[in-house]
Subunit: 320 residues, 4 copies
């Protein structure tokens, strides 16, 4: 009997650890302006979540002397699935860090690295968010906590930079069993960008080419909103609060997502996005290829991709 | 080694066959007012789809001397998954109809029945929609066909009536490997309604109690919209076209979906719905129980459930 | 030479004084939940405004031992226009209260009463809102203060109850030079409701029939939102905060406004409304008549008018 | 007795005549893609309107051997107001063309010219749109015709180019009694742009500086939508139909309008815009001044003004 396919060992992107060298300002931004909730704070930083994230934290904001991404956590579908993934990673030749104790937001996790220095972990045991008091209890018992009116509903995806997207793709397929939903193939034959999913979401991780000669950099982290209107309203809130709006609101050609990119005070890029009703339901989905000519058309409604989008990552390099 | 769990053999709800005894009027409604596209018409009826459904047809509108649902098609995740499901169904004791040839919208399918007379089929081989000409080709190659501005983006779910929801739940779990995401438990201990998913959608099938003493009835079929605004605009279009708006727009407490219910000319209930960014990502999701007291509060924003919602199904009975 | 017509002496509805016998709870509701800003508080109560109201206060919340409306303030178009209106009112036979000193929100005002006990005032000198600090300064200099993300953008209209709407119409035309844009004519020949404007808005005051045998009662006060989506989001905020949602969101047949009605803690009904791009631009607009048969159809999308809408006003009567 | 002030002799912008040298393609665009309705066609061209324009035509599309604007029609508030305006224009020294017979869309009109060659007319007698059959009759009797789902609800404004905006301002104040709501004052002291209103709308005509050395050119014509979402949906419709999207959707800093600019097939720029609930209600509104430094910040959310916005007008010049 052949192995069941497709069977997703990994359930979903669980959390991202973001580094900040302006911790107080970043925390103020994420809680007061961007609209996340603070679950708990400790000496290392803050554990944050959107109002409908079911886990205790989906963003760990860490005090650091730099910016960028600390680690990326994916939740496995079951203990057995976690075991299978660990064995696959150990057999892969990719760098293994090994088991680490959990933190306030989840149980023990297995850590490993992609060839570009990004640290990943997979875990199954998690900490579900429990409202500490009546004020944060959801009015509807099928949502995770009190609705605040803020734009972000749940963690959606992140984008990592790598000098070799094709190699990163192999990493994602091997270690996480991820599927490619869309990708950019440049005229020089290189993969300019690649979008991955481990479930029915159109993507939970994207990788685009590093042009700054750096390693282990973050391009952005994104939360999903319920409606496009949430993003338009957020744009006015960002404007009012003096936040640097890098580009948008507009609609991506790739993935068709409605987007808005801003920089939090330490310089990490964060996005709000809305995918509408789009999901990848076809089990035999054929990855969509975008050519360099396609990319020249700009975003879906013609907006040219802003230059800083190709250069700015965190931590910054001397060139961007 | 234990079997991988959760591993979804069934990929998604594929299509619904709806019966109409007012075929011309129903077809006019679905294409001109509701906003589906006609893929092809044959002597038995019309094959319809929303602009971003990837399959050739998601609604088969069948000329008949009655109304209601003909059959419900689910697409399997792979040929092997289809085999596994067939074996599980054959072993289940549920009534098997057996393999049937496909139709213009998909390949051969395995048919079986729930204890209430609803006919299901599962299939893997499908017919992908290919735009026949430039006019119907999508501007963005990651969508299935030309965007028309219409509200429905893709098939979302259906709701079936049964006299014993708990028994229907056993059927869905056994035959389709479906998970329960939310359910109503009445004070008398009966399950008043149950919502099922085979993937990360919050539900693709719901079952509510039959109060009319009938069998094999349909409660409604639903397409998903990208935004809530699409539903508000559709309400004005329905109003303008003299369509019977039964209830909505409003927000369900159960599942939190923004909804609008209308009756197509033959009396079948159809819905437009928007779930926002809500997905079931947790692999260990605990089904949400709604009590009779919860239901007394009405919908999320207090709208009382309209009486016809409890009585009207298709085909109609002498009592509703 | 004939007098110029139409020439509006009255520029717009300026403010409404609302009475509350649960002052602290009402103030908490209006500032924390409904989304108004507190301009100043004194021993009599609180002066509130929406983020884009240009005047210092559009809602005066007054500590009282009852609920309902204190007075209604309209701003004149010029000092000369104010004089003309005062002369017209003095000549009208309606009850004149006379000039009163202003309050923190405007200069001296001329007060008078309709035959049903509602107190009106007209004034020209006003106090423009000036942000006291950087935090409340608008990012865009064509808006009045910092955008907060809250639903209400500006005061829109109010609805007063009277036992004789036709007589109230004569009052509005005589004293304020108001135009009728829409009205309900019942089968018994009575005017069931009447909508008035003094400018290009579709209405800034409505009057509906008092069924409780009371005088001087308030039906509701309404703020305008930029988008319908603001109202849907507000519905979730009201739900989360345990606010009594009376009816909506839905669309009125009369005036076509998208609406949501809630009761603030003291029982006064307040609305959020969105009129889209609708304005009365035709100088020779013919009032739209709605018959009793029209009203039987319910609201635009079929929602039946909730019973409390016909009975609940403030202050309450023994019958509702 | 001093003259009543402010008293608007002009009620609203009534219609714009647009010239096209690609008549069939332009008509197809405006009716099938942009969403206007054809009232009637004659040998000179087509009379078009949005679904809620109360007049028979708000856009006259004229067969021509060039592009740009034919004439601009404003409706007066009354016959007496029309007389007053005619006398004011005759006394002004601006070029008078004189009375012309009406066309299918309105009665006789008085024509005159600004110093830059744009032809204006004012009229009072108009032709109200009457639905010719049941299919175009509005479901709600307070709207002008059947709702189609299309984005444009009513004519909103136009933008004209002139080599001397300050002089154009004098023209608008003298001839139409228009008020300035916002303007750009460049570092060289010139007025770079000016926004005018004759009623409570924030503007119905804008004038920006001509940089092409041409006269009598059009910058764009705009229809208002009910919601911002209508504009986002329209963007996808434009994309699907191969329409040149010049810039947007985004939010203007000036006037705060949410916008989308496209070029119809002959090259005339047309916009869809949404102002939310914003109106100029203050009778003593102080014009908002935007400096060159303000303009350097781009649009409200940071989008840089696209270069063609400064150069492209119709008819085109050799430089743009």
């Amino acid at each position: 009997m052949t192995a069941p396919e497709p069977c997703f060992d990994i359930a979903h992107l669980g959390h991202v650890e973001m580094l900040t060298d302006r911790y107080e300002a970043s925390l103020d931004f994420f809680t007061r302006v961007y609209g996340l909730k603070l679950s708990v704070e400790d000496e290392t930083g803050a554990y944050l979540r959107a109002w409908d994230d079911y886990e205790f934290a989906t963003l760990k904001l860490t005090r650091a002397d730099t910016t960028g991404v600390g680690h990326i956590g994916y939740r496995a579908a079951s203990p057995a699935a976690l075991d299978r993934r660990v064995r696959a990673i150990e057999a892969s030749g990719y760098k293994v860090i090994g088991w680490v104790a959990g933190d306030p937001s989840h149980g023990r996790a297995f850590r490993f690295e992609d060839p570009f220095g990004h640290v990943f972990e997979i875990y199954y045991d998690t900490v579900r968010y429990e409202a500490p008091d009546e004020a944060d209890r959801a009015a509807l018992k099928n949502t995770a906590s009190a609705f605040t009116g803020a734009a972000p509903r749940r963690l959606d995806h992140l984008n990592l930079l790598s000098s070799d997207v094709a190699e990163f793709r192999r990493f994602m397929q091997t270690c996480l069993g991820a599927r490619v939903t869309e990708y950019i193939e440049l005229d020089n034959g290189r993969i300019g960008g690649c979008w991955f999913t481990v479930n029915n979401k159109t993507y939970d991780l994207a990788c685009t080419e590093e042009h700054g000669g750096a390693t282990a950099r973050l391009h952005h982290v994104t939360y999903a909103t319920d409606q496009r209107e949430d993003i338009l309203r957020a744009a006015d809130i960002f404007l009012q609060n003096g936040v640097h709006i890098e580009t948008g609101p507009h609609k991506h050609a790739i993935q068709g997502t409605f987007f808005l990119y801003v920089w939090e005070p330490a310089g990490n890029r964060v996005e709000l996005a809305n995918a509408g009703a789009r999901l990848i339901l076809a089990p035999d989905w054929q990855p969509v290829k975008w050519t360099q000519a396609d990319r020249m058309k700009g975003q879906a409604w013609g907006l040219k991709t802003i230059e800083s989008f190709h250069t700015h990552g965190t931590p910054p390099t001397s060139t961007g």
